[in-house]
């Protein structure tokens, strides 16, 4: 074995290793200043599904599993035709009845789908933080589906030219409710104020305020939006001491309060450092400014040039090659 070359190879490896160590780790992305979102208070939700209907209506989604005989929507879960769904949870004991959980895109502060999309089809608005999708850019690799911790983006498998569907907070091209000063459909129609729209910072403040209330007291819950003049009085429940989305995976712009544990309501337990941050740190450590690959390529070029010369010489002289084989 040619020790000199081996050492060179090893030092090339060392360059990669050390450049990984020195590269700046990327932390979670920051919440945009004007980030908007929703606050879902599960203790207020009565499971009327008005939000599901409004969502289908505004986004032009058909009912699922319906037949001419049974023309109603029977969606079991989120899908490419159902971007928002209410699920009922019955605690194993106690007679508090059902608690409902609303599932839709969480509009992550540090969104996995945005980080992994090879062609920037998933975008986070720098101002509002709304995570939108551009089907004209999308290649349909479905890495966003795989990388979403909430399993939100859905691909239309049953169509020849299917596309990815996800909640875009009713602000996609052709709908643009937020840009026009309207509310997302699901927030607008919610009759109890279980789901309200607003700036994320205001919503987070509101969530903390509600958790600080004394259970049993009366409180006026806003309807539609955090800035709404309208409200509905209700009794303060026992909240879990957890604002879901405050910190999960670097935080989400959709926040949740509930009376049951979020784990029981089907929400994943996600570490505070987003997977996107871990992934990008690894990727950019290896490829920061293409320094490491360029260095390695330089070494490889040098060695390949030297060694290919050797093997071409051998090719011209079969005897020499033969002896080479014998040596082995």
């Amino acid at each position: 074995m040619d020790r000199r070359n081996f050492l060179k190879l090893a030092s090339a490896g060392a360059v990669i290793a050390t450049s990984s160590g020195n590269a700046q780790a990327r932390g979670n992305l920051e919440v945009p200043d004007e980030a908007v979102g929703m606050l879902f208070d599960a203790t207020r939700c009565i499971g009327c599904r008005a939000c599901v209907v409004a969502c289908k209506d505004i986004n032009g989604m058909p009912p699922e599993q319906s037949t001419p005989e049974e023309p109603w929507d029977l969606a079991m879960d989120l899908s490419a035709d159902t971007l928002n769904i209410i699920k009922a949870y019955e605690p194993p004991q106690g007679d508090d009845g059902f608690e409902f959980i609303k599932r839709n895109c969480m509009h992550c502060v540090d969104a996995g789908c945005v980080s992994v999309c090879p062609v920037t089809a998933m975008k986070k608005d720098p101002k509002t933080g709304i995570v939108s999708h551009d089907p004209d850019a999308c290649i349909g690799c479905r890495y966003c589906v795989a990388a979403c911790p909430y399993n939100i983006p859905k691909y239309e498998y049953d169509e020849a030219m299917g596309q990815i569907q996800k909640c875009q907070l009713c602000n996609q091209k052709g709908v643009e409710r937020i840009d026009n000063g309207e509310l997302p459909g699901c927030a607008e129609v919610c009759p109890t104020g279980a789901n309200i729209y607003g700036k994320r910072s205001d919503l987070l403040e509101e969530a903390k305020r509600r958790m600080a209330l004394k259970p049993g007291d009366k409180y006026v819950y806003k309807l539609g939006s955090i800035d709404s003049p309208y409200g509905q009085e209700g009794e303060v429940p026992n909240y879990q001491d957890h604002i879901y989305g405050e910190k999960e995976g670097g935080g989400t712009q959709v926040l949740m309060l509930a009376g049951n544990r979020f784990e029981d309501l089907g929400m994943p337990d996600i570490p505070e450092l987003s997977y996107a941050a871990v992934s990008e740190t690894v990727q950019h450590s290896i490829y920061s400014n293409f320094l490491a690959p360029a260095t390695v390529l330089g070494g490889l070029l040098y060695m390949a040039r030297r060694n290919i010369k050797g093997s071409q010489d051998e090719e011209q002289d079969p005897n020499q090659d033969k002896s080479g084989e014998d040596r082995s």
Binding site: D2, D77, S115, C117, C138, I139, N151, G266, I308, S311
Partner: protein, 399 residues
């Protein structure tokens, strides 16, 4: 005239095995027509919980791992300067060319919006944070590089001296790039898993170490596939054994595998998930199977006597191929947890299997045709003397 490689031009092109392979390939093409006419759901069992199935995991992730022979050998021959492995390079490059090209085509077939794929090459659309972008660009570039690396065989066959001279002058550039690119995208295939976070079972979610495990297994898979192909050619075409060269590859597999297993178990211990191996779940069972498959070649190859025996080398290589494939299947599919609140199920449909089998058939068929057409395999002096051209070699043709 080349003294090193020769086409097996005395063999018939149409044989029973090649006909069977052609039928399998044809079935795949018909099913692919269905996929493009009616969508992915008409052929696959992919669903809202399992966005990636057999086509991504086998045809792309495992398939390109199996196609690392050319890469692994280039690393040894041209970078570590071990000239004695030179005769193995061309057949390995051919297999890599097929493996990668079909891996790339499979990725395209699996794309839900394939007509937009060119967006990956538009600087305005590229997302430099995306591991997928890096994999896509590197694989595309590497297919091109493999094609150029393979050109000397064509130039030699058609006696294009000028082209051959040019190629010989610039080939080192492509060889260097051809080592860099697989190092990048094979490690990135592992990095793809990082962003999936908790959806990848803790036994396989090694986060920062994903690229290292992916590249270590890719290189060992490369050596293993070279041993496998060489043994296949020796037996199938009744040529003299290449064990005297292959045993050195066995040694390299042994070293890399030891490094891999030490880091792999070290990582499991550090993350405190070793108890998961014994929790009796299906995943823990699959982990054990995977580990046994990794350990078998290690045990076999640790003895110089066993490394000297062709059959033992082959068993070790095949075990390693299964180990590397299962590791990738486990990480991407078997250990996949789609959603904390739901229980999605995925098992590939018959049609999905038939497409993957058809693609493997295309690879083997293409390999068989090209080694009979172009100077790929090293000149086999022993076989030439033993089998005069006129001899009706009916047995060998069955390969």
């Amino acid at each position: 005239m080349s003294g090193h490689h020769q086409p097996l031009s005395n063999r018939k092109l149409i044989t029973l095995p090649s006909l069977i392979l052609a039928v399998l390939a044809f079935i795949a093409l018909v099913l692919l027509a269905k996929r493009f006419a009616f969508g992915l759901g008409s052929v696959t069992n992919l669903n809202d919980g399992y966005p990636w199935g057999l086509w991504v995991v086998y045809d792309v992730v495992v398939g390109t791992g199996f196609a690392c022979g050319g890469y692994a050998l280039a690393l040894v021959v041209y970078i570590a300067n071990k000239g004695k492995y030179h005769p193995l390079v061309r057949p390995a490059l051919l297999a890599s060319l097929f493996g990668y090209t079909l891996g790339g085509i499979s990725a395209f077939i699996d794309m839900g919006r394939y007509w937009n794929f060119y967006n990956m090459f538009l600087p305005d659309q590229m997302n430099l944070n995306s591991v997928m972008l890096e994999v896509g660009l590197c694989v595309t570039a590497y297919c091109t590089v493999l094609f150029i690396e393979f050109m000397p065989a064509v130039a030699e066959h058609y006696k294009m001296q000028k082209l051959k001279a040019i190629l010989e002058k610039v080939l080192f550039v492509f060889i260097a790039i051809g080592v860099l690119l697989p190092t990048m995208h094979q490690s990135s295939l592992g990095s793809l898993l990082i962003a999936m976070g908790y959806k990848v079972d803790p036994l396989w979610q090694s986060l920062q170490l994903q690229p290292l495990f992916a590249i270590l297994t890719a290189i060992t898979l490369g050596f293993s596939i070279v041993i496998f192909e060489a043994s296949f050619v020796t037996v199938g075409f009744k040529r003299s054994s290449e064990t005297h060269i292959l045993k050195g590859l066995g040694k390299m597999i042994q070293v890399m595998l030891s490094v891999y297993l030490v880091i792999r178990f070290g990582d499991l211990a550090m993350r405190g998930v070793l108890p998961n191996i014994f929790d009796g779940s299906f995943r823990s069972f699959m982990f054990m199977v995977e580990t046994v498959l990794f350990v078998v070649p290690l045990v076999i190859l640790s003895s110089p006597q066993r490394r000297n025996r062709g059959s033992m080398l082959l068993i070790a290589a095949v075990s390693m191929l299964f180990a590397g494939a299962l590791y990738r299947f486990n990480a991407f599919l078997i250990g996949w947890t789609p959603d904390a609140s739901n229980s999605f199920v995925y098992f590939p449909s018959t049609e999905e299997f038939l497409v993957s089998i058809g693609i493997i058939a295309m690879e083997i068929l293409g390999y068989l045709i090209i080694v009979k057409w172009l100077p790929i395999l090293p000149v086999d002096h022993a076989a030439d003397h033993a089998e005069p051209h006129g001899k009706p070699a009916s047995q060998p043709e069955q390969a």
